[in-house]
Amino acid sequence: MKISNLIIKNFRNIKDINIRLTNIVSLIGENNSGKSNILRAITLPFLSNELGYNNKNLSWFDINNEAKDLYYQFILENQEAIVNETLDIDRFSEVIPNVTVEVYFEVKDIEIYFVKDLTSRVDQNGNINYGMRYDFSPKNVKEVLNRVKEILISYEKGSRIDEYSIDTIKMNLLPIDLYSHTIKVPEKNQSISYDLLKLFKYTSLVAERDDFSKTSERLGSRSLVKLLEMKLDTSSKITVEKEYTKFFEKLKSLSDMESIINWQENSKISNAKDFFEKISILPNMPNMSSLLNSVKLGYSGEHLASQGLGYRNLILLFVLLNSFIEKKSDIAFSIITLEEPEAHLCSNNQKLMASYMNYFSTKDNSVQLFYSTHSTEFVNKLDFDSIVIVNNGKAFSLSTELSKGNKDYLSKNPNLDLYKLFFSKKCILVEGLTEELFIRSYFNSKEELNDIEVISFHKGFKNIMDIWLQINQGTSNKLGIVRDYDNQPNAKKEHHEYNDYKNILVTTTKEYTLEPEILDTENNFDLLQVYFNELYDWNCTNKKELSDKWVNAKSSVMLRLCKDISNKELTELKMPKHIQDIIDFLYENKGDDSASELEVIANEN
């Protein structure tokens, strides 16, 4: 079983996402993008594996700000109607922010029994959907409206509130004390019984886990103790208790404890003996988890506490994941959420951990693993379906956003850095390594340009632009794309349509390839004529001749040129216009108007 679809609404910075998921889910994104919020949200419909921690009520701060702003705006605009009680309650219900987390399951035939009471609908493809929905909302909307009315009436003796004064009473206007949470079957709106709920558990490992095994006395991690305890069956527990009793008896006889409390001889009261005799020492067996707590984990004969953070983290993860490999009969499905598995791990241990996690995901164990990461080691290059890109409260699953061809391409380019591609402030995509090398070397020679990333990608940028646009809605990031013309006017036209977006600029070479284009730019021909002549004795008198020679030369020629540009030996060299346009674009504030102008220029090219 696994969660195949996740919908989150109004939770912290997550306004509204709906993503498809696979067996293992890697969330990637910048700091503050919402990765941890997604990891937290997904646990809300489930019970915790940890004892005693199941608080699912949220706070005012957990409700999405945009949703709250809409609500406050509505109150501002409808103050009179609220006070006069003429407001349509349905309109009010619509704007009250609710937090919902909805998950849909993909189940194997043998698991259907567990989810039969979660049937929520038949979808367009004729499949039965099984789902759970966590909902944090006011029990009674009318009560909220009454509260708001009271506040408005009593505020400053009935004076109107405005957009400044509302700031001082925002918490009161959204009375969280009237909210409660429910876990129901979506659409059907039927509460899920505890008996069913307890078959679905989560285990959470947050990023702040450095305390694990820090002191030398304790194992240090509650979840680990619990896992140890789960592994002990009844007969082993009996053995433990028997052994403890034996241990106690031994202790008693060795220390002669009974005689320690033997005060009757010292008492002058005649019947003191009757009283004191009854005092005895009884075993006080600690409960199982305290016993297990006194176990220490070691590594290579040393206590774990004396190991570095990295090892402690690695061992914690291994032990945790390992305990889920075996299927438990009392749990139908578990999720594990894990923040930054790479924390404190050196690159070799990251590889070790990543390969273990991949192995884990292939196991049929009804466990779904969710993790956020900043490390490329943990982005599975062979399975882009598992990647969810998070940015600014939005999330995109590459399984649905990327075509198969594009995924295959990405897989074939294992060194492609998705982080750079999707999250760079300024990024240029080019079609080949030659272009990448050439542009990079130019940037190296100009300090002011070194914040531009250059990445080579395969032909056909449309899909990648679509994803990039989605991810970069509302960011100030910019993307430039340098295409080769390749005698394909239609492809050019289609790509250039993207210039309507003000954060993308696509340009295309006039010529078939890059070299003639370089020579055509300003004084480059003169400059390079001399350069090539000095180095390789080329005697070319016109651009055409030089261009052909250059195109057909060994790759080492280009490499050498790039090195020399990089080393500032050809500072006079200019970028061809289509590249220079992109550089200009990346550094200017492209307004709505100039977008069309630039498009015209680009098209002229």
Binding site: E111, I112, T119, V122, I128, Q190, S329
Partner: protein, 447 residues
Amino acid sequence: MKINIAGAGSGKTTKMAEKIIDRYERLPAHENIYCITFTNNAVESIETKLIDYFGNIPDNIRLSTIHSFLYQEVIKPYYYILYNKQYTQISSIQLSPEPKYKRSKITQLEEANILHVSVFSERAKWVIHKKSSDRKKEKEVRALILEKFKKYCTHIFVDEAQDIDKHLVEILKKIDEISIEIELIGDPKQDLNGTNSLRMLLEEYEENVEYITICHRSPQNHLDISNSLFPKDEWQHSEKEYGTISVLFETDINILIFFNSTAFDLKYISEKNDRYSTAQNTDIDIRFRTLFHEITDMLNQSLDEIDELRIKQIAYYLARKLISKYEQTNNEREAMKIINKYIGYDKKTYAKVINALKINTNVDVKRIPLSSIDSIKGQEGDNCLFVLTTDLAPFLFLEKTINNKTKNRLYVALTRSLDKLTILVTKEVEEKYSKEFIKDFLKKYTL
């Protein structure tokens, strides 16, 4: 579909448990055996047998009453995706015997998303088999549901199969059709609701019927009487040759003295009459439930501002207070004063509440208390008393031979005793047939 016909005292429960155990030993881990019975008692006795064998009930043997099966396994998971309606509660309040009122109450409950137990089998049939208004879409969704359903529900055993109603027959046939293994065990001779559904299934699935003719309870001469009512196929035989059968006539004795001085394990009659009562203490909570429901309804109408939980709290309190007041004063109008202020002048509501208050309270001190035959089904005793009334007599004397619930009642009455059976002939029966005829007719059994 396999059908086992097992008469009274044949050890049905043991047989059923054996079959379940046998099937379980060969069951893949993800498949489930459902065992359906008609009463909680029957669930318990099969449970006991399984616990004796396994130590606990294995996870994939699922015992339930028919109601719980239909609701938990059929209606609750799937009704919504077919008919877009989800019930949030179930109810077993008392319904009026009048079909019109009964229907309107069920509709009223449904509007509040409450499903009454009496329509479980019909609704479950709509899910599994069909509803007359079904269109293409419903048919497609149903096919999907059945496909999922049979992935985990692979075997169904039904105990007391003579009690299945016409909707359940359709459900079981459909389930059989999609090749879920079904095995029924029951006795058409003990069909006291007169649904005749098991007999119909017997004819339809003729080649899969097995008769268990041994009877471990009644002696042979008792069985000779009961066998005389039915075709040879269904005759039972016993290892015990002889048990006492005595015939008494009401006209020969003083029944008050007789009943005071003679003890029986079971004493029963077809239906109560002017001399005998049949106390029906089957469900002591039904009055409270019905009252609670009616008061909740009433409060919902009169106090529309208060939240649901609070209304239930008040209704619960008022229902208890009403009952205790009524029991103290034995005057329902006096008791009703407690809630008059909520009712106002609404006569309809007043009638509903007061009727609910009076459920099951007609205790009769003058008549002799007996059990109804319907209520002692499944029970047995060494020493049993059967009061023969005019409805059953024609069947006993073979004047009537049609298979119906009255005849089945007679069968149940005759097959309760492990040893002694006393037949007390009422004066009406004696009037109709004469003492001589009766003595003579029963002579061959009493020898």
